[in-house]
């Protein structure tokens, strides 16, 4: 990597710990993680179930805060970020992709994508145009008015990717995006994510997976084990 290509730092994590209190037991889901993530990466966090990947992703996605250590995102410390600030960050800078797709079951593909634009207060026509464009981008222009239940797992996950891109985020957080998909759909979804990273969107993608085969899509792979990076 040349110096000119050295990108801006997106995330900076220092000695991050996340402790859960679960039925009077303390669970150290993340023990001590220090990490930097730059723009334009496709970072794979690989590790077995229960190793703490999701916990780490939740903190990267500003859904959760560490119990110790600090995180900065886009040069700003999140330590004292209010819920309101974090909500706005999520809305505008971060897109989410889940193992279970997490589409709203009562809404069509188009409506699901539009829903992500509700906090931006964009006009209905603008929302609809953007949603159509994104669904076309993920190859689902023929599935606009389908309900999630009428879509295959791969299609649903692509709708979810379209939704995640709705507000042109800087980072996509994907937790086991292929966990519920067959290998063909998995390949499609991972190709799509890599395309987002490499093509015009220049979106940084962070993927957590327990599947070693997924690691090949990443620009960097970090192994997670017992709440630590190894």
């Amino acid at each position: 990597m040349s110096l000119t290509e050295s990108s801006n730092t997106l995330y900076e994590l220092k000695n991050v710990e996340r402790k859960y209190n679960f039925k009077s037991n303390e669970v150290l889901a993340i023990k001590d993680v220090s990490l930097e993530i730059s723009e334009g990466e496709l970072l794979i966090l690989e590790g077995p179930s229960g190793s703490g990947k999701s916990t780490l992703l939740q903190m990267l996605g500003v859904l959760d805060l560490p119990t110790k250590g600090s995180i900065s995102f886009l040069g700003e410390s999140l330590d004292k970020a209010s819920d309101k600030v974090r909500t706005k960050l999520r809305s505008l800078k971060i897109g989410f992709i889940f193992q279970q797709f997490n589409l709203i079951p009562t809404l069509s593909a188009l409506d699901n994508v539009e829903l992500a634009m509700v906090p931006t207060k964009a006009k209905k026509s603008a929302r609809e145009a953007r949603a159509k464009e994104l669904l076309e981008r993920v190859g689902l222009s023929h599935r606009l008015n389908h309900m999630p239940s009428k879509l295959s797992g791969g299609e649903q996950q692509r709708v979810a990717i379209a939704r995640a891109l709705a507000n042109t985020p800087q980072v996509l957080i994907a937790d086991e995006p292929t966990g519920n998909l067959d290998s063909e759909s998995s390949r499609q979804v991972m190709d799509l994510l890599r395309g987002l990273m490499t093509q015009s969107e220049r979106v940084t993608v962070i993927v957590a997976t327990h599947d070693k085969d997924i690691a090949k899509y990443g620009t960097r792979t970090l192994k997670v084990k017992d709440g630590l990076l190894v």
Partner: protein, 594 residues
């Protein structure tokens, strides 16, 4: 978008939506039903209790046997004539003699001997009239009331209990003979006076009884029979006494005893008579109906116990009201009496000239006559038992009432205020039930409906943890989540309101169908006939019951109330559920299940 989302949430999950909406609707419907019935009861009572003034009367003056227990102290200073004959105390014996006679006479007219109705087999129809406890008083009292300051009008009336008996003179009679028995009466007579003794001795000597020897020979008479020189010629023809030897002597004694002593020896003979008695007088084909009649001042068509405004058909009394009557429409319909029909009452024919719908509870009659007609029918000429008084100003009612009490000691003076206090009965009970228990039940039902709506909303949110977490994750703010949940529950509230209002009408019909018929009882003013009632072994008290038709009404306000209740319920559920949803951690989006 958010309305669209809420709409889709409600329509795509229709069964969940309907369950929540029906929960609210049941609560709202039941409460509306209770409110509707309660309204119906209030309306019924309102109609029933329309103040006396609505029929042009502010005060009713009556006199009842039990009503007065003391004479007002000022009565001694009242010197007007009516006060003297109007005075009454608690007891019949304390009525003045005119009143006593009137009361006894009028109530005794019902004691007609059935055996005098005619030979067996003849049909008879009689109408007896009795004032009962509503004692009559001279009609001059009306002018006394008229003379009181602020009295606009005072109209007399005579209300009576009538007993109509008809049937055939029973054949089963029992004839038996009394008298002709002989009785021997033995009594110790008082000692003879000196004069009687002298007279008797003289008599005996006259009869030839030797005084000294006679008394001595009496003891030997058994052995000395027939030898007595004193024997009158031929002896006594009637004497068949057992003492053969002393017959002449005893006859002389009988003849010479004083008259009063002779009486004791006389047989008492009871005169013979034949009595024919009807066995079990109310035999099966004798029917007895009681109804109430009232005589009114036909020249006062706008005030009194019945007025022209209460005519439902026909017309008011003509110039010659002698054979005209007005009939209560309810009584007419239950007895199949129609307008212009002729009725025979106490052998006189009357024409039904109008049907009336009296509103003055407790003071209604079945048949209304001209006052003088009923006075003569009931042999109560010149007497009335009610005065209906109109007062110039409503504020002066109490003042006038006490003036009447003072002028007519013994008068029972009723004002609309005191009448309202006396309304009781199942209508009143139902009203109390509807307002007290009904309110409690309504509140409980409504709270239960609200609770159900809240619990359903909370359970709905629990099921949607991941969905809500996802919305939070993709940047939805807390208040956006809250308002989204509110939108959904308000939608449920609107559906619940619509269903609830519908159900409310149904519930009202069901509740009123299940309610027993209600009666309203007004005490203290009735045309009671307790004395006549006792004679006829009927239970009659001085109360009047009106059957009340309950028409539950759901008005606009009730509908608005129902809608508001449903919306409030949904708002409560939406606010609590929404807060719960808004507080969810966005990390819930990462949940593997749910």
């Amino acid at each position: 978008m958010r309305f669209h989302y809420a709409f889709k949430e409600l329509t795509k999950r229709l069964s969940r939506t309907l369950v929540s909406a029906i929960g609210l609707a049941v609560g709202v419907g039941l409460v509306m039903g209770i409110v509707g019935v309660s309204n119906g009861l209030n309306n019924a009572e309102g109609k029933d209790l329309s103040p006396l003034s609505s029929v042009g009367t502010d005060i009713i003056v009556t006199r009842t046997v039990d009503a007065v227990t003391s004479i007002s102290p000022s009565s001694s200073t009242t010197t007007s004539a009516p006060s003297q004959f109007f005075r009454a105390r608690g007891q019949l014996s304390q009525l003045n003699s005119t009143d006593q006679q009137a009361l006894l006479q009028s109530n005794s007219s019902v004691l007609t001997d059935l055996s005098k109705l005619g030979p067996a087999g003849t049909n008879f129809t009689y109408d007896f009239f009795a004032p009962g406890t509503l004692i009559t008083f001279p009609s001059q009292a009306t002018s006394v009331v008229q003379g009181i300051k602020d009295v606009t009008s005072a109209v007399p009336a005579l209300s009576m209990q009538a007993i109509h008996e008809s049937g055939t003179v029973p054949k089963v009679v029992d004839t038996f003979q009394t008298g002709s028995q002989s009785l021997n009466v033995t009594t110790a007579p008082p000692p003879m006076t000196q004069a009687q003794r002298i007279a008797m001795r003289a008599c005996l000597q006259n009869e030839g009884v030797g005084f000294r020897s006679g008394f001595q020979s009496q003891g030997n008479s058994g052995s000395n029979s027939g030898t007595s020189p004193t024997s009158p010629g031929g002896g006594t023809p009637t004497d068949t006494g057992p003492r053969s030897g002393g017959s002449g002597l005893s006859q002389a004694f009988l003849n010479c005893m004083p008259a009063s002593y002779q009486q004791y020896e006389t047989q008492v003979v009871i005169p013979s008579q034949t009595i024919t008695r009807v066995l079990n007088p109310p035999s099966t084909n004798t029917s007895t109906n009681t109804y109430t009649v009232a005589g009114i001042d036909v020249s006062s068509p706008s005030s009194g116990i019945i007025t022209t405004s209460q005519l439902t058909s026909g017309h008011w009394f003509d110039s010659n009201p002698k054979n005209e009557i007005l009939v209560d429409s309810a009584y007419a319909s239950s007895n199949h009496i129609s307008l212009n029909q002729s009725l025979t009452i106490d052998k006189e024919t009357f024409k039904v000239i109008g049907l009336v719908n009296p509103t003055l509870t407790g003071n209604t009659a079945d048949i209304y006559f001209d006052l003088s007609t009923i006075q003569s029918l009931a042999s109560n000429s010149g007497r009335i038992n009610e005065i209906l008084v109109k007062v110039a100003n409503a504020n002066e009612v109490n003042q006038v009432a006490s003036a009447i009490k003072q002028q007519l000691p013994g008068a029972q003076v009723l004002t609309s205020a005191s009448l309202a206090d006396q309304v009781s009965g199942s209508l009143q009970n139902a009203k109390v039930l509807a307002t007290n228990l009904g309110t409690v039940v309504a509140i409980i039902v409504l709270l239960a409906a609200f609770l159900i709506a809240l619990l359903l909303t909370l359970s709905n949110i629990t099921k949607r943890y991941r969905e809500i977490g996802t919305l939070r994750a993709i940047g939805w703010r807390r208040k956006t989540i809250l308002s989204q949940i509110l939108l959904e529950t308000i939608g449920i509230g609107v559906i619940g309101a619509a269903l609830g209002v519908l159900l409310g009408f149904v519930a009202t019909d069901i509740i009123s169908a299940l309610l027993p018929p209600l009666t309203s009882t007004t005490s203290g003013l009735a045309v009671g006939a307790s004395s006549a009632g006792t004679m006829f072994h009927q239970t009659t008290s001085a109360t009047s019951s009106t059957s009340v038709k309950l028409s539950p009404s759901i008005g606009v306000s009730t509908v608005i109330f129902g809608i508001a209740a449903a919306i409030v319920g949904s708002l409560i559920a939406g606010i609590f559920g929404g807060i719960r949803a808004a507080r969810l951690q966005p990390a819930q989006a990462f949940r593997d299940i749910g």
